[in-house]
């Protein structure tokens, strides 16, 4: 599911402005970037990373386990399909603005190939001190430090802010997963929790959620069973209720999707609910002490 230090990483769209900038940041952090892809630019190199025209061509010469896409939203589906078809099992899609229909196609194809998508519209992931794949400000030492707290966030900026709270609590992160803020994403809160439940390094989990959708509700049963303390902050309590998509939306979501429904179900499952980002630090400190 996740990148390890040993995983080799491919950067799709490496020659673009953002691709080039973040490739350097990732390399500096120690991420094993083995190749980049930009059609028509095969043979060039970016920060010493060789560029290929297609993922297939890159995989022949420089096989990788993970790919991260720096491509515009309308090209994300093709990029992700190219990666999974070429045999990459973990694809990180950062783009904000991917049409939801494209995301559905992308996920259907990925599941055919036994691949997993992280995103779209997320900042990627980091194993502090080991590897970062995406656009997280990994060099900020009061945000990311190796530790035992797993963080799963639907929001990039808020997730980063919450990671700072983990550090304020005197702790660090085992893995931070930016699952993305789109209505449909490839890796859900529930799947992230299932990973954290199994992960030996993770001793506590922070869920950063927000109103809309039912990912937090769907994750509640795992919270109840995982045997590790969980702190949750669900943003949007002050926001006006989102417009429902007709009767159809009401029928498929029922009474779920509100901050109230999410916090209620998570609390019932045993999670500690933070009302502000700063409360995350306090609740986490307390929970870790109690749990010991």
């Amino acid at each position: 599911m996740l990148a390890k230090r040993s995983d080799r990483v491919l950067v799709q769209g490496i020659t673009g402005r953002e691709g080039t900038y973040w490739t350097e940041k990732m390399l500096q952090y120690g991420t094993r970037i083995v190749a980049g892809v930009t059609p028509g630019k095969g043979g060039q190199s970016v920060h010493g990373v060789p560029v290929f025209d297609t993922v297939e061509a890159a995989m022949l010469r420089r096989p990788a386990e993970v790919s991260v896409l720096f491509v515009p939203p309308m090209y994300a589906m093709a990029g992700a399909c190219e990666a999974t078809e070429a045999g990459i099992k973990n694809v990180v899609v950062l783009a904000d603005g991917v049409p939801v229909h494209d995301t559905m196609v992308m996920l259907a194809r990925a599941s055919q190939y036994g691949a997993r998508i992280l995103g779209p519209n997320g900042p990627g992931m980091i194993v502090p001190g080991e590897t970062m794949v995406g656009i997280l400000p990994c060099w900020l030492e009061d945000v990311f430090r190796p530790g035992s707290v797993g963080v799963v966030s639907r929001s990039g900026s808020l997730g980063t802010a919450i990671c700072h709270q983990v550090i304020r609590a005197g702790l660090g992160q085992s893995v931070v997963l930016g699952i993305g803020g789109d209505p449909i994403v490839g890796t859900t809160t529930r799947e992230a929790l299932e990973f954290f439940a199994q992960d030996g390094r993770t001793r506590a989990v922070v869920i950063v959620g927000e109103l809309g959708g039912t990912m937090e509700e769907d994750a509640a049963p795992v919270v109840a069973e995982m045997g590790k303390p969980v702190v949750a902050f669900i943003a949007g309590g002050m926001a006006p209720e989102g417009k429902r998509m007709g009767h159809a939306g009401a029928i498929v979501e029922g009474d779920r999707g509100t901050v109230r429904s999410k916090t209620r179900l998570l609390a019932e499952a045993g999670a500690h609910i933070a009302r502000t980002p700063n409360e995350v630090a306090e609740l986490l400190s307390k929970a870790m002490k109690t749990n010991r």
């Binding site: 656009i135 400000p137 990039g156 900026s157």
Partner: protein
Amino acid sequence: MRLYEYQAKWLFAAQGIPTPPGAVATDPEQAGAAAEQLGVPVALKAQVLAGKRGKAGGIRFAQDAAGARAAAHDILGATLNGFVVESLLVEQRLDIASELYLGITTDRSRRCPVAIFSASGGVEIEEVARSEPEKLIVMPIDVAVGFQTYHAMNLALRGGLGGKLLTAVADVASRLYDVYWQYDAEVAEINPLVVTQSGQVVAADARMSIDENALPRQKNLPKNAMPGSDLEIAAREQGLTYIPLDGDICILANGAGLTLATMDLIAAHGGRPANFTEVGGGNYLKARQSLAIALSRPRIKALFVNVFGAFARADHIADGFTQALVELKPDLPIVACIRGTEEETAWRLVRERLGIEPYKDMDLAAAAVVARAYGRG
């Protein structure tokens, strides 16, 4: 982006879904003429993007052209659930034998489209969903395969239909999916799908909303103003998300999640957020427009900027909003909390251009802005 009923019906009809003969009218004369041409009786339906239109008086019937003119006179210009009625859809009135429900929507939890059908359609469908869920058939759709007529047949069959009605409804359902898919819809819904006394199946109402991320490739959609205040519309025209709220502390943050959390934080400290304005992604380039819109409302007491830069770098965002504030020169207390990628450059810009010291802890910053807004600082 939600479409008006008449726009959705254009798309449905183009895909071969039966809709009642009708015409759009923006004044009583047009409504009367439409009634004459269509043949009476007619239904006159307010074109507003709000639900429960019928209960709010937005649907009227008329037996003749004079009646249609009178009804149009009443409805046009009236305010319905907060929206001013600017146009009507005048349609042949249907002889209703029964009302079904049919919808295609994106199911966030299943991560695929679903088709929904019920033989008990009409305005009370949500009540049916609660009290008699077995009467609602929900069928997930594999996007690699689509929703073929035989899938639609199974849907209608599970919903209790048979015979000619089964094949007619299945035909509409599979066409409805084609509309949903082709136009990047979030939802395409027919409620009620009317069965007439003569056994015809007709889409009496139509609801459709389009994924805004897909608009760049949806060139053939009807041009359409979304509902909202002038400020909301101005923001949308510039590609910004701006939702006005009841409060008085103006908020600018990056990313939807952090913006929501910032609103919560202001509230937790006793403040009242005035708006939801997001400058994530590439939108930090539009900070000036965002701020101009957000600050243009009366009774704003303070501005709170909360940035945690990552992909959108803190220095880029700071460059945008500090420049904008230098130009706009708002006469307000300003509190800025800044963290993230290239934060030191960002802090320097805030100090140099605005002459204030940026916060690094958002909790302290929120407390400060609330105190200053309400004269307690």
